[in-house]
Symmetry: C2
Subunit: 506 residues, 2 copies
Amino acid sequence: MAKAPKNAISPTREADYPEWYQQVIKAADLAEVSPVRGCMVIKPWGWGIWENMQKVLDGMFKDTGHENAYFPLFIPMSFLEKEAEHVEGFAKECAVVTHHRLEPGPDGGLVPAGKLDEPLIVRPTSETIIGAMYAKWVQSYRDLPILINQWANVVRWELRTRMFLRTAEFLWQEGHTAHATKEEALFETRQMLDVYADFAENYMAMPVIKGEKPSWERFPGADMTVSIEAMMQDRKALQAGTSHFLGQNFSKAQEIKFQSAEGTEEFAWTTSWGVSTRLVGGLIMTHSDDDGLVVPPRLAPKHVVILPIYRSDEEKAAVLAFCDDLEAKLKAQSYDGAPVRVIMDDRDLRGGEKTWYHIKRGVPIRVEVGPRDVASGSVFVGRRDQTPKDKQGIPVDQFVSEVAATLTEIQNGLFEKAKKLREDNSRKIDSLEELKKWFTPKSDDKPEIHGGFAHVHCADVKEVEEELKKLKLTARCIPVDGDEEPGKCLFTGQEVSRRMVIAKAY
Amino acid sequence: MAKAPKNAISPTREADYPEWYQQVIKAADLAEVSPVRGCMVIKPWGWGIWENMQKVLDGMFKDTGHENAYFPLFIPMSFLEKEAEHVEGFAKECAVVTHHRLEPGPDGGLVPAGKLDEPLIVRPTSETIIGAMYAKWVQSYRDLPILINQWANVVRWELRTRMFLRTAEFLWQEGHTAHATKEEALFETRQMLDVYADFAENYMAMPVIKGEKPSWERFPGADMTVSIEAMMQDRKALQAGTSHFLGQNFSKAQEIKFQSAEGTEEFAWTTSWGVSTRLVGGLIMTHSDDDGLVVPPRLAPKHVVILPIYRSDEEKAAVLAFCDDLEAKLKAQSYDGAPVRVIMDDRDLRGGEKTWYHIKRGVPIRVEVGPRDVASGSVFVGRRDQTPKDKQGIPVDQFVSEVAATLTEIQNGLFEKAKKLREDNSRKIDSLEELKKWFTPKSDDKPEIHGGFAHVHCADVKEVEEELKKLKLTARCIPVDGDEEPGKCLFTGQEVSRRMVIAKAY
């Protein structure tokens, strides 16, 4: 076996967290920068995680009564202009299609030709184009609610991009619903927040705080935005999903009107909600370690990798026969309502190289099988949530019968570990001095490591937004769970009923 | 019950086939024209069919060793220019992004701003951007083959659009593979053609001819294009899927090079293959009738709709209890490897209206349950492949136990019917006079109804392309199955070894 490196990923999290993140993505072969500015290529292993996320979320959306549909990639510029705050929010960073063909230019190359009468915007989000259709579809209260989701790509021309977390093109789902009453729309907004929290905690093993955004952090055009916020291992916050109560703002801008049961004409109440490939970034930063990616079993493209080890043709025959049998037995086991996902890696590589390959990719369970294991009817098992050296010999039948329970244990363990990190790095803060201290880097050479989440009384006013900006801090949300806890705003002295989560953020 | 209309769709297929097609889409609520030129909105019922298509095809791709990945929406203009035939094929109809933000203009509205150094093309297909990545990934023969598929949206600025069949934006999958040898790439090209034919015939119940395109019908930049061709009910051909052997054209343009086992530097051999939302159009035109959509059960979003019928609250309680029980029993049945998909429609609509709603949407089996059925323990069953009047009383247990077999019978029956139509409207033709006669409309007021497919000896030369153009006919393909049958080209007299399928086409 090749000599095991001290750590598979260099630099470590402690040495340089942002660079560690890029290196984990590279080592696990999740994604790559593309030649198109700000756009990434999602490679098969990264796509496999996103595909599993989509499958689970899609089921959750359907279970809550939503259907999928598909709307155009392009939005006429005039549509975007209809809602004032909305266009303000997106005009500064959007891809604009102005021509519809290419022609030979004066110097031999091609030049854009066929100028469009009206420029088209590559959707940064689809409220305006979907709303235009809803205005046609909704006549009577009987046509409501409309509960539709779409899986799509969107483009926001971000200047500073980072794989999965912030890319010019990203993939997401966007739910868009229209309701007859404010109460229904509020229920929907909150219901989808709960769906996202359920997914984050129970599938991604990523604990989240559900809360309401202060006004300055709202989606452009929304009356209320709620979000789930997670703590990454560098104590920074990641907004992982948002759900917006749009009130009647978009329905008024787009004339989504209906005749009520009483015969009056009313504007519909709308919502929108979305999560994106950013979740893959959150998953990476929540669980991975200095040996590479760690994937929670419920979302892992593969649960178990079988690694046959042999030196002669004779050994090979016996080992492979044993491994084939093991693979079949594992696939016959059920985990999370489906067969256990197994791969066998019989590539002609040195054992150590192969083992590290799968450690770096975060496969939850590795099973090594050599001639001696075949003879004794046992396997050598390594778990991704334990150090690479912690391998254990187990009778093969026991391993197979316990595999689902082991995966559940890994899944739960990852959640508990992440939750503990958040709890250890969160505190209530009641003075400005204490707040500044909390966010001071622990030492000069580790500028990333600061306190974590601060739970602070803050008023939802402009002055607080500005003060936080000066401190290079962001308001994450006002948690919706738990009891009220009135107190005075740290900046303005105003009385508020709940604390707000303040953090550095992605 | 409302009086049944003579036909739910007006006009009928015979009266006006193209308009009938639009009306079926409308009546079944599959899709709608959007405010964005040439782009459609795919509504939930239409999306449900596409979703099922995706699921099956995705499984087939994985079973043949492919993985999914995702590449950028945008292609830098210079990438498109690298392969001469390719750019020639796509430059005339592409969406060009030239700016990356919007600014207030002189007259108050917005204008594009932030001009890009290099225009970006919204992908019409992704050979060039994917090839650029493969060039980075492939160094040695050990890195081959690369077997990747992506599910994506693409844009081709078509002037004349038609829902599903030809739209500016459409959804598709595009497989892109790279191989060390010509033989492997040819095998892949042909393998994916077989996958597409298997899907078309066994899931869509749409018989297809597998064949090779003559040179002038090839994909821009390909050495060989093979396709599946289906006959619609108006006797016209629909190209339903294509698989391209790209030789070394793209690998040379993009430098996808590798070191062989012998140490020499070689260019990779590449393929690409795709099917799109056009398949939904093919499905509609193959099976639907003058009462609306007919969906083959294997792709139907729902297999069975239960329609409770009652007049009083007392009847309602008994009927709904019976229906709930029936729904549970049906869902416990397995069809095509998964539970039977059932909906109950208890909306407050007149019985006839509700029944026709589901007929028009093509649900394979309708079950009506009234108080008398509850008393006798039977149900009233209508099949979408029979006329609306052909309803049958069946004991409920028998219906449930036979439901999977009935769905299979419907699926097979649709295939046989479509196959018979094609056979009845195909013939070998050996003279130019006969060919012209074959494609002459049967009567002046039905310009669409002509002979169908003509199997003709044609040489793969420019002259034939031009002569067919004059006759307003198209060369579909040279079928690859069956024995050779040498003969003289109808237009040039050259000896060719196989007949070519000639047809009017979509």
